[in-house]
Symmetry: C2
Subunit: 533 residues, 2 copies
Amino acid sequence: MVEDKENTANAGQEPVSKKAAKKQAKAAKKAELKAGNAAAAAADEAAGDNAADHAAARYGLSEMIQSKDKRSEREFVLLPELNAQIGKGLFWVRGRVHTSRAKGKQCFLILRQQSSTVQCILAVGDIISKEMVKFAGNIPKESIIDIQAKAVAVPNKIESCTEQSLELFVEQIFVISQAKAQLPLQIEDASRPENADDAEGLNIRVNQDTRLDNRVLDLRTPANQAIFRLEAGVCRLFRDILSDKGFTEIHTPKIISAASEGGANVFTVSYFKDSAYLAQSPQLYKQMAIAADFDKVYTVGAVFRAEDSNTHRHLTEFVGLDLEMAFKYHYHEVLHTIGNTFTAIFKGLRDKYSREIEAVGQQYKVEPFKFLEPPLILNFADGVAMLREAGIETGDEEDLSTPNEKLLGRLVKAKYDTDFYILDKFPLAIRPFYTMPDPNNPMYSNSYDMFMRGEEILSGAQRIHVPEYLIERAKHHGIDTTKIAAYIESFRYGCPPHAGGGIGMERVVMLYLGLDNIRKTSMFPRDPKRLTP
Amino acid sequence: MVEDKENTANAGQEPVSKKAAKKQAKAAKKAELKAGNAAAAAADEAAGDNAADHAAARYGLSEMIQSKDKRSEREFVLLPELNAQIGKGLFWVRGRVHTSRAKGKQCFLILRQQSSTVQCILAVGDIISKEMVKFAGNIPKESIIDIQAKAVAVPNKIESCTEQSLELFVEQIFVISQAKAQLPLQIEDASRPENADDAEGLNIRVNQDTRLDNRVLDLRTPANQAIFRLEAGVCRLFRDILSDKGFTEIHTPKIISAASEGGANVFTVSYFKDSAYLAQSPQLYKQMAIAADFDKVYTVGAVFRAEDSNTHRHLTEFVGLDLEMAFKYHYHEVLHTIGNTFTAIFKGLRDKYSREIEAVGQQYKVEPFKFLEPPLILNFADGVAMLREAGIETGDEEDLSTPNEKLLGRLVKAKYDTDFYILDKFPLAIRPFYTMPDPNNPMYSNSYDMFMRGEEILSGAQRIHVPEYLIERAKHHGIDTTKIAAYIESFRYGCPPHAGGGIGMERVVMLYLGLDNIRKTSMFPRDPKRLTP
């Protein structure tokens, strides 16, 4: 009787004879002892070695998957596709044990796949033994398991899962990769909404260092799964939009022979018997690509800043989304291209990543990101006037302090209802030597910053493309022109006027979602105090 | 009479009054003196200051383009779109002077835009003066100019240009950015077909260091324009194909706290008061992303190798196309995914980049790249057998030497007619500690390399995802496991079996095109002896 059932349930699965079951149980036990998991070992003892357990072959610790066989006949179903399985018989699912609780003759287990969850049930009966229920209830959270199950519709929504209209009746369950019983953080705690009141008033939160120290666990929360999928979306949109506009992707070296801007805030690398530096920006190389006739280029890559800034928005290594473009007569040709690229990114995120935005919103307070089309462009002087109207004292040629930058963001939002705007015509005095001065007013320059929710996410300018003038401006800035000779040389063989800018990817994601710390949008952040994991 | 013509020709162009013309001539002269170009200055003297020159306002050195005005009414035409302009009146083109030759009353000028060229003519008459012809003939090669012209169909193909069915009759010509009169290399020399016999038997070639030292010029050749557009295509295809397969793009840190594989060949970075290293591979981080439930990930970014290898295929910094993927039972699920990704890339290049492939073929001998669908998979042992059949002595557990690797590529090509193949099941002894041993034969491992034209372009494997076994293997390799504790720790919270690989982007492009040196496919290559530009 039992044999027959096993044969049915085990089609294409572990061997079913008692001998084989014992052998497997023995192997499983060995693995358990190795893993040092007492709970599972105890369950195993009760199960595998007990020939009276009619379910013995239907559960246990799987052998290490070493690619011994392909089992290509075994079809796996993803959680979001479970609905189609209702009433269709047995199938397999691989996922993590989100929670598991055995209670008497039943075990309720929530299985998780990335951000999706489904309720699974094991109930003692013809197929399942009490030992099997106990085993399932003892599987450590976060372990990866394979289950064979049937999908059954439920009359009432299961509120605790993302798959709310069904549950899975498990007939086989095997641990593929067992997690440590003690986790350094609980996924439930790490996923808890920031503003939610805890019923028990404990308000358990996971602090940022614990999260980052255990990033492999922390990244499993639905918000983190969504953040990094949305981040991939930002990069994809950036590239696709620019490719459609005729831009060519380039790759620029990160190891450079001379520090780009005077040697401040630069990391030194030992390069065989010499010293070299890590590039603080791909700007020189983008400009060389323009001088080399690539016309419009972009590059996505690591950028390094040796600033000892321990703030919510500084990283020592981040991903730069950089672009550079030749223009005909006016750098606004470029300014508008960049502005429209942002608009298209914002639209793309809104339209294609609404699920991710919503998932982040489940944990963090996400205000929808507002933007105008075309984007708002203000002159720096207008920004200064707005700040002064608000009672702030600031000079005409004074750079925006971080508080003033944020205040201006709020003033712009109040007046124009946009979270994105462009500030054009920065004072010449506060921009780098290669910035083209404004031909109409020597106090200003053809340079711009772009802001999201009041924080700078892009800095750019028309660059001086005439070598003699570049030398003049470098000297004015007290720069030793012999040290930038190669840079200047690039413009001696004909170079079109050009402008560009660099975007901090992590900042874009942080500010688009309205998050409070850039470490939330860097998968493995680097700051002056953190080099691991 | 002259005034009227000027007014017509100058619609929306430089001011036309004599006063303005003089002013412009003065500014131009100043610029010329600054630029130190005697030839142009002489032409200018003959032209701008001579009120008798009826064409004076129709040519000269343009003021530096500083974004003074937008001239948005001025429409520019791209060379490949010129055909539509035949018989349609005046329009503007911006491009480089490829060559220019004044002969008596005519000047023949070839204008270049990226890889396109068109013949332009200036002939003395009502519109053009002899001074203007002289000016045009003296513009240094590679200068960027704006011309206003009409397109006229020609009866016989112009063989020397890419736009062969028409020529441009120039009515205005202004230098936007003047090149030095002496160029360190000539674009014509740098573009010369490798196998072409020079009529004069001079066989002028530009050597690689001269090219790389003057990369801004070298990159302007049609072959280089094509190589780097095709390279952008490789990256785009890689990403799009994997995104369509459900992969998520991630970004991994380049600055790491511990050298990944024993500390050999790693660059050291000074990190504030500490030391750090440059990542030799994103592998650990890809694996962490898998352990963190991202399931299938890829990353495109800089990879650093401090190897003092001065070969045709080694760089100290290159672009890695890396991927990692969880699988169910057998690493061949991943192997096939990678293999099919390559097939899709090869098809994409063949179908979408045929113009670029052809352009490279104009200069270098490019044999069409052959591939099978699905790709050929051989076991390492089969490869060894083929080599032995060819008379090579090589051990069962001996790694392929570079000559053997190449020979095997030729043998495979002869037997299977493919330039791409996969070598599976490498001997365990020659692979890193984290490689999963073959469960069926302890001499081998679940690891693979992939080859293009007989050179390795990908190395990959199933990784050990069980911490205890990883420790055992690390110890076997004599690795201090305390130093890789963080790596091992990543697998303690449940990790699916997974495999992946890393591809060298520059190698793929080099070998797809059959080029002989990786420095041809790195825009700004880095090797032990080259850190500039």
